[in-house]
C-alpha cells in the first residue's frame, strides 16, 4: 500500500500574524513554522499503517526551499520519502492541480490531507483533489481501519459522527481524533539521523491556472477594554447581556 500525506508548513499556533507590502503579503519574519496540526495527525496514522500493514509513506508539500525543514521532520517522524513541489502556492485550486499531476505519475492508495490548514483555513484541497480524481473523499476523519481494500471510517460533523464504508483509493481529511495528541510521534535522534539519508525529491511544476486571487489582508479591529462586573453583582451582568449586548 502506498500512502501520500500532503503537508502544509504553517505558522506556529502561538504566532502573531502580521502583513507587509501594503497588507498584501504575510510577514514570515520571526515566525516559527510547524507541520500543520491536522496534517500531523494524518501523518502519524500513516506511520502506524507503515508499521501494521507495511505501507510506504510519501510526504509532499508545495512550497519553496523554506519548507524543507518541515519535510525533513516528517522523514524523521518516519515517512519513507518526501517530495517538494517547488513553487509558492497561490490558492488551493493550484495546489490541487500540482497534486493531480503527481498522482498521474505515481500511484497512491490512500491520500491524506489535513482537514484544513491553520493559516488559510481553506479546507478544500482534499475534496477538490478526490473529485478531480473521481475517487471518494471523507472530510473530518476521526477513525480509519483498513482490511484488504475495504475501509471502515468515521466522520465527525456538528453534533455527531457517522460510520462510513469505502474502498481504496480514497482521500481523507485528517484531524484530531484520527490519532490523539498524545500519540503524535516525536522524532528521536535515530529518526533525525536517518531522515538526512532519505530521498527528498524536488519537482519543478508547470504553470497552472488559478481560480482565486488574494488581494489584501487586514487584522480585526482592536477591541475596547473589558467591562468588569463585581462577582457579588450578577444582576448587572445579566442586565448588560440583555439590554446592552442584546444577546440573551
Amino acid at each position: 500500500m502506498n500512502i501520500l500525506v500532503c503537508i502544509s508548513s504553517v505558522p506556529d499556533t502561538t504566532s502573531k500574524i502580521n502583513f507587509k507590502n501594503d497588507n498584501t503579503i504575510f510577514e514570515t519574519e520571526g515566525v516559527q513554522f510547524i507541520i500543520n496540526p491536522n496534517d500531523e495527525f494524518g501523518l502519524t496514522r500513516a506511520i502506524w499503517l507503515q508499521q501494521s500493514h507495511g505501507a510506504n509513506v510519501t510526504v509532499v508539500s508545495v512550497g519553496d526551499s523554506s519548507c524543507e525543514p518541515i519535510l525533513r521532520k516528517c522523514l524523521a517522524i518516519g515517512a519513507d520519502q518526501a517530495i517538494r513541489i517547488d513553487t509558492i502556492p497561490k490558492d488551493g485550486f493550484q495546489v490541487v492541480a500540482y497534486l493531480t499531476s503527481l498522482l498521474e505519475i505515481n500511484k497512491y492508495d490512500l491520500i491524506i490531507t489535513g482537514r484544513e490548514s491553520i493559516d488559510y483555513n481553506g479546507g478544500m484541497v482534499g475534496g477538490m483533489l478526490a473529485t478531480k480524481l473521481k475517487i471518494p473523499y471523507l472530510s473530518n476523519c476521526i477513525y480509519l481501519d483498513i482490511k484488504d481494500d475495504n475501509l471502515k471510517l468515521e466522520r465527525e460533523f456538528d453534533g455527531g459522527k457517522e460510520k462510513v464504508s469505502a474502498s481504496l483509493p480514497i482521500v481523507i481529511g485528517s484531524q484530531k481524533g484520527l490519532v490523539e495528541e498524545k500519540d503524535l510521534i516525536i522524532p528521536n535522534m535515530r529518526g533525525i539521523m536517518q531522515a538526512r539519508q532519505k530521498p527528498l525529491e524536488v519537482l519543478s511544476p508547470e504553470q497552472v491556472e488559478l481560480s482565486t486571487q488574494d488581494l489584501s489582508f487586514e487584522k480585526p479591529s482592536e477591541k475596547g477594554p473589558v467591562r468588569l462586573v463585581d462577582a457579588e453583582n450578577i444582576d448587572e451582568l445579566i442586565d448588560l447581556l440583555e439590554n446592552e449586548a442584546k444577546v440573551i
Partner: protein
C-alpha cells in the same frame, strides 16, 4: 442567471443557518437584480422561506437514503446549478457545508472561497472578505472564474426578513459516482451543536475536574447553549474532543461565548474570536482572556456560576 443557496435542514425543519443563507442571498440577488433560488433536502416545512425572500425552492426527496451523502448531494446540486445557471452559490460553514463546497466547485468548474463574512464588495469579478489565520486576520479574495461558490461563516450576516412568493419544485435525487457509503449516524440529539448554537458555554482547567461539569451544563441548559471546552480539558480526557474549541479544535462564531475558568491561550482566543460578545469568568485577574473579553467577572466559578444559573432561571 440566479443566486443559489444550499439550505440545511434537520428532521424536515430548516436550520437557522438556512434562513441566514437565504437572507444573505436575498441581499445579493436584490443588489444584482436576480432571482434567489434555494436547494434543500427532505424539507417538510418550507413555508418559512417566503418570509426570507426565496423565489424558488428545489426540494429533493432522498427516499430511503436518509443520510447526508456528499456525492449524491453534489451531483444533484450540480444539475440544479446548471439548470438555473447560478453564478454565485452559497453554502453554510457547517461541517457538511464545508464538505460540500470544494466537491461542488470541481463538479461545476467554479472558484471556491470559504469563511466569507460579508456580502461581496464587488461583483464582476466577485470580490469578498473572508476570515483566515483562524480568525486572527481577514483577507479579501477575488474570484477568477465565471461561477463562484462561497461558504458563509455563521452569524456573520444575521437574519433579514423579506416577503416573497415561493415556487416549489421537486427535483430528482441523482445517483453518486464514487464508492462511499454512510452506514450509520450517531447524533447527540438532545444537545445544541457548537456550530448551530447562538450561545456557547465553555469550561477550562479552572473547573478542576470532569465531575464539576454540571456547572457548565446547567448554565448551558438554561441559556439553550452548546457546551465547549479548552484544549487541555479535552487532552486530559475530561471532555470529548468534539467539544474542544480553538485553533486545532472547532471554531466558534456564536453571538455569545461564555468562558469559565479558561485562561485564554492565544490558540483558544483565535478559535473563538468570531463570536460577537465574549464573557469571561475567572478567579485570576491576570488571565489573558480578560484582554479579549467584552464583559468579565473576577471570581470563583464555583461561587459565581450557580448564582448566575439560578438568576437566569428565575428570569425566564
Amino acid at each position: 442567471m440566479t443566486i443559489l443557496v444550499v439550505i440545511e435542514s434537520e428532521l424536515g425543519k430548516i436550520k437557522k443557518s438556512g434562513l441566514e443563507l437565504a437572507s444573505y442571498g436575498r441581499k445579493i440577488a436584490d443588489d444584482k437584480g436576480l432571482k434567489l433560488t434555494a436547494v434543500g433536502f427532505n424539507i417538510e416545512d418550507y413555508s418559512v422561506l417566503n418570509k426570507y425572500g426565496v423565489d424558488k425552492l428545489y426540494n429533493v426527496e432522498t427516499g430511503e437514503d436518509i443520510f447526508f451523502d456528499v456525492d449524491r448531494y453534489s451531483e444533484t446540486i450540480t444539475k440544479i446549478i446548471k439548470e438555473e445557471n447560478a453564478i454565485l452559490i452559497v453554502v453554510s460553514s457547517s461541517a457538511d457545508g464545508r464538505y460540500l463546497g470544494p466537491v461542488l466547485s470541481i463538479k461545476t468548474q467554479s472558484a471556491y472561497i470559504p469563511n466569507v463574512v460579508e456580502v461581496p464588495s464587488q461583483y464582476e469579478p466577485i470580490q469578498v472578505k473572508c476570515s483566515c489565520f483562524t480568525n486572527k486576520a481577514f483577507k479579501t479574495s477575488k474570484s477568477l472564474k465565471n461561477r463562484t461558490i462561497i461558504s458563509l461563516l455563521s452569524n456573520s450576516f444575521g437574519l433579514n426578513e423579506k416577503a416573497s412568493s415561493l415556487e416549489l419544485i421537486n427535483h430528482n435525487y441523482e445517483n453518486g459516482i464514487v464508492n462511499l457509503k454512510v452506514e450509520s449516524v450517531d447524533k447527540v440529539s438532545d444537545k445544541v451543536s457548537i456550530a448551530d448554537a447562538q450561545i456557547v458555554v465553555s469550561g477550562g482547567r479552572g473547573l478542576k475536574g470532569p465531575e464539576n461539569w454540571y456547572l457548565i451544563e446547567d448554565l448551558a441548559e438554561v441559556l439553550g447553549a452548546a457546551t465547549a471546552c479548552s484544549k487541555p480539558v479535552s487532552d486530559m480526557g475530561w471532555r470529548p474532543h468534539s467539544e474542544h474549541v480553538g485553533q486545532t479544535g472547532k471554531p466558534v462564531a456564536s453571538n455569545l461565548y461564555i468562558a469559565v475558568g479558561v485562561s485564554g491561550a492565544i490558540q483558544h482566543l483565535a478559535g473563538i474570536n468570531s463570536s460577537k460578545i465574549k464573557v469571561v469568568i475567572n478567579n485570576d485577574p491576570e488571565a489573558p482572556f480578560f484582554k479579549a473579553a467584552d464583559y468579565g467577572i473576577v471570581g470563583d466559578a464555583f461561587d459565581v456560576i450557580p448564582k448566575l444559573t439560578e438568576k437566569l432561571k428565575m428570569r425566564k
